[in-house]
Subunit: 425 residues, 2 copies
């Protein structure tokens, strides 16, 4: 009989990791609550039309689709397409459902709505090492607030959330889609092809300047365009947004420049020596729905970002016909957990977790009255049958987080003993 | 443009309820952890074969099924059945996935495995008031422990979990499937039809003795059988398991009687005046997989149970070929939340949640430096534009949990003011 396994691309979360996940979640939640954000939840399943619309981009192709049920399902129909068979899908992110939530519940929500969402999303990607088809996202969003205040608050709150779980020395990278547009314009790229330029530029970290040049060339951009683009982005490490605006020949609106400068000044003052915030005109962020500032957080020593977000002012209007400005930031929950697991991080546990070991043949009434007596004294003993090799059993219990044990060997109340400190490898 | 809504039978969880849910979950988790249980998580999607097997019973018919993807999906195939189209399903409970988890990860788990699971499950039931197609379950299970110790610990830990969220005066009802079998035998019902008797008996609370008699009659049981059954269960309110065993003519094994008595004595000693535990030979619990003790918790004033569980010693062996005894208890998370919402329960919130109100036209740099100054003084202000009617805005903020506010109206650091106590309806 072969043992059943998790479905392909899915995984189980064992106790050690689950404890870390719960701890991370509770710390992040507490921080965001302190900043006045409230948690909401949306269902995992949404109507399929919502998920396969434009705003999902590439992710919309990765939706797990749910079959219609009962009478609605007609398998005998000739020339059937997927649309005839499917009515629901599993959400692939928390942003599309948030916008749907906001439009469905707008009358009951405050005018400026600050939301926390933490929950699983699903994408039918080709499984690969470290990437799974179900993973947890952790987003905060502000709907109803124009640019400036919102961005600064999202950045500071998310930085505090990361600090609360022990991260520090990270760097916030900040850019604006309108600056990217100005770059593409200045390079002589027609607006319809800006998207292609941005997608390639997004890979700069991974494939370098030569890689970007090569890819743009393959896409048919002229040598002059590519040259202008790369020269504009050469040596921008640490450049101020004002200096970069000069490099662009002042084609940028002063509002865009002031916004980036003011947000970065404010966040930097907050950061002190704990983390950094800097302008980075090469930052793109993948999603097509961003309309203004975009930002992410990089942690030294890791080649992936640990948080990312931006402003998406058109999505609410597109879905509901009533506009509302919106901006969000997402902490890469799985990445953060992976980093903590790599570091062998152990979250704080119960100070006095006690196992009550019951020898074979002990009358049930005796075992239960002993455990009851312990509970009456304020201990919550966890009952286990005594195994033949006590030493080995205690090692196992320690690995599960137990700090104390009591052996039910005499008639009276069992004595609680502290376990020896485990030998550390 | 019509506003998109949650999918049929699904619902959004708004901030007020989400805060209660998080609080309930954190209290229950803390209690179970104190008893030495560790949390695990399984993926929402499992291979469809696992979910549509025998042990799901009626629930297996309610699985949301996920379509195959890419090359695996062939819509043009003639005579196609559901099996050709579907490879995954959403879990309908946490017990089947737990057993799969245990068999997949057995080598990495302690010999006696005490698990907590809290998470959503999905059932494609006909939507009705107060019942949704996605809901949260909250289970603890012990795998690897024989009857007695396990049941007592599950009951006491779950009672403590309920006490920790403010429930009291509830009653634990305890029975054993082997006692139900003895009842059916004593009534002269052939073993193949025991299941039908139990399903009908399970409705005693709802349809009364006459209802049960009627339903058994319709199922073709003889008047003599029905008469014996109902007489055996007449006036059993408060009966001890020993007295009930006598009524059954001592056809019950002494072990079964002693088990019920010892567990009830121990739990009652623990309960004191806080809750009750009693034997109830009419208790059935729906699932077909139970093999021994079954139990549930009833809260006065509510006609549904708020927790239920039992022993299922055959499931692990059936799935993996290697037997392991198992027993679980599930708190009705949604029911508990509903009761707390009915009672207008409000979980504890931030002691000093502060809104910083920014008048229209304030320079961004000024707003951000003021908020930064507040953060430097230890407050995490939540930024909002000042609205025209301050009183109304403050009311809204109070409804969202804010206790303090500061108005950015002068040049210096804004003063933090406490909001007036809200007028209570």
């Amino acid at each position: 009989m072969s043992k059943p396994q998790p479905a392909r691309g899915m995984r189980d979360i064992l106790p050690g990791e689950a404890a870390i996940r719960d701890w991370v979640q509770s710390k992040i939640l507490a921080t965001y609550r302190r900043f006045g954000y409230t948690r909401i939840e949306t269902p995992a399943l949404e109507n399929i039309q919502l998920l396969t619309g434009d705003d999902g981009g590439e992710n919309a192709k990765l939706v797990f689709k749910v079959m219609k049920r009962g009478e609605k399902l007609d398998l005998a129909r000739p020339g059937m397409t997927e649309d005839d068979l499917v009515d629901l899908g599993l959400r692939f992110d928390l942003t599309v459902p948030l916008v749907r939530f906001f439009t469905s519940n707008r009358a009951q929500l405050p005018r400026v709505f600050k939301a926390i969402q933490i929950g699983p999303v699903w994408r039918a990607e080709r499984p690969q090492k470290g990437r799974y088809r179900q993973f947890t996202q952790c987003d905060i969003d502000i709907i109803g607030l124009d640019e400036g205040l919102a961005e600064a608050e999202l950045l500071v709150a998310s930085a505090e959330a990361l600090l609360s779980i022990g991260f520090e020395g990270f760097t916030i990278r900040f850019n604006d889609r309108r600056i990217l547009t100005a770059i593409a314009n200045a390079a002589g790229v027609e607006p319809a092809r800006h998207g292609s330029v941005f997608i390639t530029l997004d890979k700069l970290d991974k494939i370098g300047v030569d890689g970007v040049k090569g890819e743009l060339g393959m896409q048919g951009f002229t040598e002059a365009q590519i040259d202008r683009l790369t020269r504009m982005l050469d040596g921008v490490d640490g450049i101020s947004v004002e200096d970069f605006a000069k490099r662009l020949g002042n084609s940028l609106s002063g509002d865009v420049v002031n916004l980036a400068r003011d947000v970065l000044d404010s966040v930097s003052a907050d950061a002190g020596t704990r983390y950094k915030a800097r302008f980075d005109p090469t930052l793109v962020r993948g999603m097509g729905y961003y309309t203004g500032p975009v930002f992410e957080i990089a942690q030294p020593g890791y080649d992936f970002s640990i948080a990312g977000g931006g402003r998406y002012d058109k999505m609410v209007g597109k879905l509901s016909g009533e506009e509302a400005p919106a901006c969000g930031f997402s902490i890469g929950f799985e990445r953060v957990v992976t980093i903590l697991m790599d570091k062998k991080f152990a979250p704080p546990t119960e100070a006095k977790l006690t196992a009550l070991l019951v020898p074979d043949g002990t009358p049930l009434a005796r075992a239960l009255s002993a455990s009851q007596a312990l509970r009456a004294s304020g201990v919550a003993p966890s009952l286990f049958p005594l195994e033949k090799k006590l030493g080995r059993q205690l090692e196992g219990l320690q690995a599960s987080g137990f700090t104390h044990y009591a052996l039910l060997d005499g008639d009276g109340a069992p004595a609680i003993k502290e376990m020896k400190a485990p030998a550390r490898g």
